[in-house]
Amino acid sequence: MSTRTATEERAVVIGLEVHVQLETDTKIFCGCSTEPAPDEEPNTRTCPVCLGLPGALPVLNEGAVEAAVKIGKALEADIPERTTFHRKNYYYPDLPKNFQITQYDAPICADGELEVAVEDSRRTIGITRAHLEEDPGSLQHAGGSIDTADHTLVDYNRAGTPLVEIVTEPDFRSPAETRAFLAKLEEVLEYLGVFDATRDGSLRVDANVSLVPGEAVADDGSVPEDALAEANRTEVKNISSHKGAEKALAYEVTRQRNALRRGRAVDQETRHWDESRGITVSMRSKEAEKDYRYFREADLPPLEVSDWRESIPIPELPDARRERFRAEYGLDAESADKLTSRKAVADFYEDVADRFDPDLAATWVADNLLGELNYRDMAITDVADRLEEFARLIELVDAGELTTKNAEEVVLRGMLDDGDDPDTIVEREGLGTADTGEVEAAVADAIDDNPEAVADYHDGDEGAINFLVGQVMQRTGGSADPGEVNALLRERLDE
């Protein structure tokens, strides 16, 4: 077999470590807030505990443990009888104690899975474990990057923010799969109410990437451990979004493929994803295995969590809700997808679907509202306090008091652009639906004024009717329903 064929048959193997900042009120081991204050100064949201001052002791925030248990339930993972904390010892300036409190042999979640849709197929990604740990502080390299900075400043405001690190099995076979997985994971975390995607740095991903000989892949798609051990892998750090993951890993896979194609080996090393340049760069070669000298954190007694799984409820998750929406409201797959991908959207849809026509509500929420928001680079969360106004708009359409065209083109856009409520806009623009008498008068006028179009209609030209509908719409200022106008015109013309 030539080298060329061997490299071309290589299969991609990727595993992820996803760090998720948990949405708790306070840090994981102290009472400091996790929420950055507007324009806060560095090192002000700190206390002896998160600064690692001599003598300070950690006290576990059980809210963080509850959030982790929710994640475990959503990932169908095992929650142990008791969970313990360890110290991971290494020196780094962002680490106040020069060790990180994390979990080691008794993580809060183990052995779960998450099903994701990738193009048209469903893939189940194994979750090895998910454990709690503390976020370090952040470094600011003054006047450049990590390589070129004149000096580095340390800010411990972030230190102690609760993190869950979710470690997957090496189950991904393409960069696209990692993107789908991360998007789905974000969706689930958001549903659980434990995660705020808008917070900077709330999702950080490290990826282990290797290429194995294609023939090593078993029929069920799994890759045997010895094949994985033989292939050198790189760890790509500094990925901060699902889109970034796909780009970074596509780059890295191509880089490795090219190296192998040219007959070079892939170095086992850590690489840094440089988002602005769109490349990965070598950080340091990875020694056999770093020695973190893990040992039990005696300051935190073991926590009994055996009955937490039962006592902590989680809400309906996106997949279940999607299926229920299809069954309950008769939605097609695409609408159900759009309406459940964010919990706030699904909640709003459910509210209006129960009050008005579910089909109409689906069109209005999934297409009109989300479309117009998207066009303005906005999300449902940006108008969270105005949902009742949008419900009122749908009510007006549902009751036939406003035409779809006016509702969409005038009222909805006005609401988003000018911030007015729908009734104000309807009144100001005089958009109430035309009454029957007005429409009939306009139909009669249109027929009288356009004898040629009438003749064309009678000669069988279907296009003529559209012209006449347009004439009527013009005369009613758009407030008539085009369907009704069409029917009324035919009635009159066929008399």
Binding site: P48, P54, A56, L57, V59, L60, H151, V154, R293
Partner: protein
């Protein structure tokens, strides 16, 4: 009396106007954080470090009306048996200024023995309250792990240590324990147990019907004068109505080894934070941070501290973790279960506190193994998380000898009662 160098910092911190300790002066070991008052751990590393917060025990002293008179000298970071490893010079034993006061809470015990404070707080990781109490002829209590808050105590080996009182009498020591004991929301390892006890009231000398276990393993190899003095004290307890029985603790011969592996392992991690970035000594901030950290630490730490950090780092390293750290944990569990078995039959366990008389200054500082072995009788207590008290039993060759009484978990009232009978 000549200055025994009991304090690193002499500064008065007034407490509340009244309370159980109103009018009482207290020396506080210099590894216990005092807001606004330098807290050095006896180390160059923390020279000039002024904590922004009070340790919980300091708050409790202030609330009880005590007056803190100074921060007591100590072996650097609590690592020593003589108070000679302090960056601020050794403390002398008030009983004999040519001898060491014991350690690591030597400044605390010496301050009480010299009358420079009524009572004192020390900390005990492997005997650091009991050893200097025995050497200086005063009383020292190592409480059950979890009885006294460690919040603000600068850690040496956090799974082993407790803050403990030192005083001239058992009753005074017990009264100080009453003030500092009890659960603290800032220390997750504190327990409710013992919170409503009255330790001072237990100093009633009533040992009628009490069973005292005597452990032959803890007398083996001890100085003859120490053995005779302790045995005489035990006979005196028998005369007051106590019964002595022999109990065996076969695991204790491994206690010192297990203790030094666990304590140094924890120390290697606890002391990692001293890198010059946030507080304390710094060798500067230029150049590669890894090199600057190393320089800071080699300048800031003394020999004994470096030795223990290196030992602990080694014991936790891949390839050695199983051989040393994991084995030491097994030994710790064995010691614990030995004591559990013994306490099925006895109320307290007695031994010499220290198998030796106070060393002469400079005698043993260059011989770490001799120093480590002197902890043979005190370290098992820390491994088993138990309470123990050292009470003066008399003198040998004119030097103080301490009797150690060990109790079951949260059995502080029992050891206080037994010790108060020894005093009489």
């Amino acid at each position: 009396m000549a200055d025994v160098n009991a304090f690193i910092t002499e500064e008065t911190i007034e407490g509340a106007d009244d309370g159980p300790l109103a009018g009482t002066t207290v020396a506080v070991k210099d590894n216990i954080s005092t807001a606004g008052v330098e807290t050095t751990c006896g180390s160059r590393m923390l020279e000039g470090y002024v904590p922004p917060y009070d340790a919980t025990v300091v708050t409790r002293l202030a609330d009880a009306g005590a007056t803190i008179v100074g921060k007591a000298n100590m072996d650097e970071f609590g690592m020593g048996t003589t108070t000679e490893t302090s960056h601020f010079g050794p403390t002398r034993n008030p009983v004999d200024p040519d001898r060491v006061p014991g350690g690591s809470s030597g400044g605390s015990a010496a301050a009480v023995a010299a009358g420079e404070a009524d009572v004192a707080l020390g900390t005990d990781t492997g005997g650091s309250v009991r050893c200097p109490a025995a050497f200086c002829g005063v009383v020292g209590i190592k409480p059950t792990y979890g009885l006294v808050s460690r919040y603000g105590l600068i850690a040496y080996a956090n799974s082993l240590e407790q803050v403990g009182p030192i005083a001239g009498t058992v009753e005074e020591a017990a009264a100080l324990l009453d003030v500092i004991a009890g659960p603290d929301p800032h220390d997750a390892t504190t327990r409710e147990a013992g919170a409503d006890a009255n330790y001072a009231a237990a100093a009633d000398g009533d040992v009628e019907g009490m069973t005292v276990g005597v452990v032959p393993e803890l007398f083996e190899g001890a100085h003859e004068g120490v053995v005779e003095t302790v045995e005489a004290a035990l006979s005196d307890l028998e005369a007051q109505g106590a019964e002595t029985v022999e109990v065996s603790l076969p695991s204790v011969e491994h206690a010192v080894q297990a203790y030094y592996v666990i304590a140094t392992s924890e120390a290697s991690s606890n002391l990692a934070r001293f890198d010059g970035v946030r507080y304390g000594h710094s060798a500067g901030h230029d150049g590669n941070w890894n090199e600057t950290f190393a320089e800071t630490r080699s300048e800031g730490f003394g020999e004994e501290v470096k030795r223990r950090i290196l030992l602990g780092t080694y014991a936790l390293s891949a390839g050695y973790h199983e051989k040393y750290y994991a084995k030491a944990q097994d030994a710790r569990a064995w010691v614990r279960s030995d004591f559990d078995d013994a306490f099925a039959d006895v109320d307290v366990i007695a031994s010499p506190t220290m198998p030796v008389l106070p060393f002469e200054l400079g005698e043993g500082i260059d011989d770490p193994m001799t120093m480590y072995l002197a902890d043979a009788n005190t370290t098992p207590v820390n491994l088993a998380n138990l309470p123990a008290i050292s009470v003066p039993a008399g003198t040998a060759e004119g030097l103080p000898v301490g009797l150690q009484l060990i109790g079951p978990k949260f059995g502080e009232e029992t050891i206080v009662r037994a010790a108060s009978a020894v005093e009489e």
